[in-house]
């Protein structure tokens, strides 16, 4: 990987340039929560002033720009006579820039790449969006409640185009693609000096030292298998409202449902993919009415089982990135770090 340093004021120049020709998504402050803390979202911006790079965590992940909540997979147009129809499929081909993506979100994209861009049936819908998105990452101080350090997702080595680390008056930039390198050529940058490297290492060490949560993830995969009938699931499952908020904010949840909608004039129909949640009651219900996961406990358990057991079996890493967005969004206060903690020491329940 190549490294450069970028003076802080030059980033604004770069963003201004990108704004001239592309859609730019960046963390934007949209309000304050009940505790007086600012709420941020990844939203399209129109000027540099709207961007708030100091953002700790966005309530939603940036996955909506890769896996939209609603996406038209194909359109059917019915012929005037008879039963015939034609199918039309379109993929996104507009270029987009996402600025200020955190390490957890980039790691989440890498996990999504494994499922959606490779495997037996690579998804052209996802690949078209992924390849047309320039990702500029951003290092940041640990967020409250996050346990990304336990999962090794607090740092990232690929999956982005540029990754910025704040060194006071300048950014330390990691360049991971040709696209990013070319872009950086349009602004004033400097080669990395001995001092820059030293500052970068010190900054990374400072961030690593700020983590307060130390969730124990050791042996969790086996534990989930052994504790399949554990009381822990009853305890947390009873709280679960089966609302699906956790999956909506999760940066790696990719499950979906497909429905088809006929237009009002019966001339066209659309096949729509909409993101789903394994906590919703009809997730595994089959024709005839049988539900393979009828209770909130079994559905919540399945969610953890997939994240920390099933995904490891398939890809040798957990699906979770430890951002704790699900914990923040959960109306019933189910926090993953506490659920995992309870599993680790069963006797507490």
């Amino acid at each position: 990987m190549l490294f450069k340093t970028l003076p802080k004021e030059e980033l604004a120049v770069l963003v201004e340039m990108l704004l001239g020709s592309h859609e730019v998504i960046a963390p934007k402050r949209v309000g304050v929560n009940a505790k007086g803390k600012p709420i941020h979202h990844y939203l399209p911006v129109e000027s540099v002033d709207e961007i708030d790079l100091t953002c700790e965590i966005t309530e939603y992940s940036a996955k909506t720009y890769f896996l939209p909540y609603r996406e038209t997979l194909s359109t059917y147009t019915f012929k005037e006579d008879g039963d015939d129809w034609t199918q039309e499929i379109r993929y996104r081909s507009l270029t987009r820039v996402i600025l200020g993506l955190h390490a957890c979100d980039i790691n989440a994209l890498l996990k999504l790449d494994k499922v959606l861009a490779r495997e037996m049936f690579p998804s052209p819908y996802y690949i078209a969006r992924r390849k047309n998105t320039l990702v500029i990452g951003m290092d940041h101080d640990p967020c409250e409640g996050a346990f990304c350090n336990a999962l090794g997702t607090d740092t990232v080595t690929h999956g982005f185009d540029l990754f910025l680390t704040d060194l006071g008056d300048r950014y330390f930039v990691a360049i991971s693609s040709d696209r990013g390198y070319t872009l950086l050529g349009k602004v004033k940058t400097a080669e990395v000096t001995e001092r820059d490297s030293r500052d970068y290492i010190a900054e990374r060490r400072r961030i690593a030292g700020l983590f307060k949560n130390h969730t124990d993830m050791r042996n969790l995969q086996n534990l989930l298998d052994i504790e399949f009938e554990s009381k822990v699931w009853e305890k947390w499952g009873r709280k679960c409202l089966s609302c699906g908020s956790c999956a909506m904010v999760c940066p790696t949840c990719y499950c979906y449902g497909v429905t088809e909608r006929m237009s009002m004039d019966f001339k066209t129909a659309r096949k729509i993919k909409h993101l789903y949640s394994c906590n919703l009651v009809d997730f595994a219900q089959v024709a005839g009415g049988h539900n393979f996961r009828p209770t909130p406990e079994t559905r919540l358990k399945y969610r953890y089982y997939h994240q920390h057991h099933g995904f490891i079996e398939s890809y040798d890493e957990p699906k979770c990135v430890g951002c704790n967005r699900c914990g923040r969004a959960c109306l019933a206060g189910i926090e993953p770090a506490r659920v995992i903690g309870d599993l680790q020491r069963e006797e507490r329940v």
Partner: protein, 304 residues
């Protein structure tokens, strides 16, 4: 006028793999995964009050030639404007260009399918999933056990075995349903019985006055047959409760668990291991299944 920085866009439709015709058997390739094969319903046979057999023919000659499947695989049937459903293929794999789908009226899409006339145009994606290891079974005895609608996926390996009759040894078919009116493919029983070395036994749970055959649950039929455990493969299709009873019974008789094959049923929205709806533990029923050996099923949480 703002300064500009152009990023070249990537047009996925120009990708070399994407310009080739869609073939779902060529896995791992980038292709139009949502592209359906246009197909006509060329024949409808009313099997029972609830089930109909649809004969489906892919319209495009190139796509029809490229479409091939193995017994046990399924297709996604798309009724434009209504939805898409996974249906296992019940016809013989050697019958090129046609396939038969046995569909029970159970919901929105199947309800529409039960109303349509011959000639209706539907979409087909597939075939997807794993299949019964018919090659491995060669030279062995085969037990085919079906319960209720399980006869639909079982008909395909049955065709395969009868067409390659000399390769297999004794074939036992056991079929159980709730009542005689729910028996599927009753018009073919005589034909199957006449095949040398094929033994068909049928049992119903709730007989009607006209019923003269056996009454009871399917495991009752086991008392009557001889199973040579080290030489037998079993294919079991039916409701999840049946798997437990039948497979544990077969296991007691000495049939190894990795020689019993079951076909699982799950909700599916994509057929390609993406939507997670058919996820069981760490396996996708659509990619790693629907055909599993019983040992794998035993090791999967919540599988049956």
């Amino acid at each position: 006028m703002r300064p500009r920085a152009y990023l070249y866009h990537y047009d996925i439709t120009k990708d070399a793999d994407m310009t080739r015709p869609v073939d779902f058997n060529r896995r791992g390739r980038l292709q139009h995964v949502d592209r359906v094969f246009k197909a006509d319903i060329t024949g409808i046979v009313e099997l029972t009050e609830q089930e109909k057999l649809f004969q489906v023919r892919i319209l495009d000659p190139v796509e029809r030639e490229g479409f091939s499947f193995m017994p046990g695989q399924f297709v996604m049937v798309d009724v434009p404007g209504f939805g898409e459903i996974p249906i296992s293929i019940s016809s013989s794999p050697s019958l090129r260009g046609y396939m038969e789908l046995c569909i029970r009226k159970a919901g929105l899409v199947t309800g529409v399918l039960h109303k349509v006339q011959r000639g209706a145009r539907i979409g087909i994606r597939g075939p997807f999933g794993t299949y019964f290891p018919v090659e491995r079974m060669k030279g062995h005895n085969v037990l085919l056990i079906a319960g209720g609608l399980g006869m639909a996926p079982l008909r395909s390996p049955l065709f395969y075995i009868t067409e390659n009759r000399p390769d297999y040894r004794d074939v036992q078919i056991m079929y159980g349903t709730r009542s005689p009116s729910q028996l599927l493919f009753s018009y073919q029983y005589d034909q199957w019985r006449r095949i040398d070395g094929v033994n068909l036994q049928i049992i119903v749970d709730h007989p009607d006055p006209a019923w003269k055959g056996d009454v009871g649950v399917i495991t009752k039929l086991f008392d009557r047959i001889e199973v040579s455990p080290y030489d037998t493969f079993a294919i079991v299709c039916g409701p999840p409760v049946m798997f437990k009873f039948v497979c544990s019974h077969l296991n007691r008789l000495g049939v190894p668990m990795d020689r019993m094959y079951v076909s699982l049923e799950r909700r599916m929205h994509c057929g390609m291991g993406k939507c997670c709806r058919c996820h069981v533990g760490s396996t996708y029923t659509c990619l790693d299944g629907p055909v599993f050996d019983y040992w794998t099923v035993m090791n999967l949480k919540e599988a049956i």
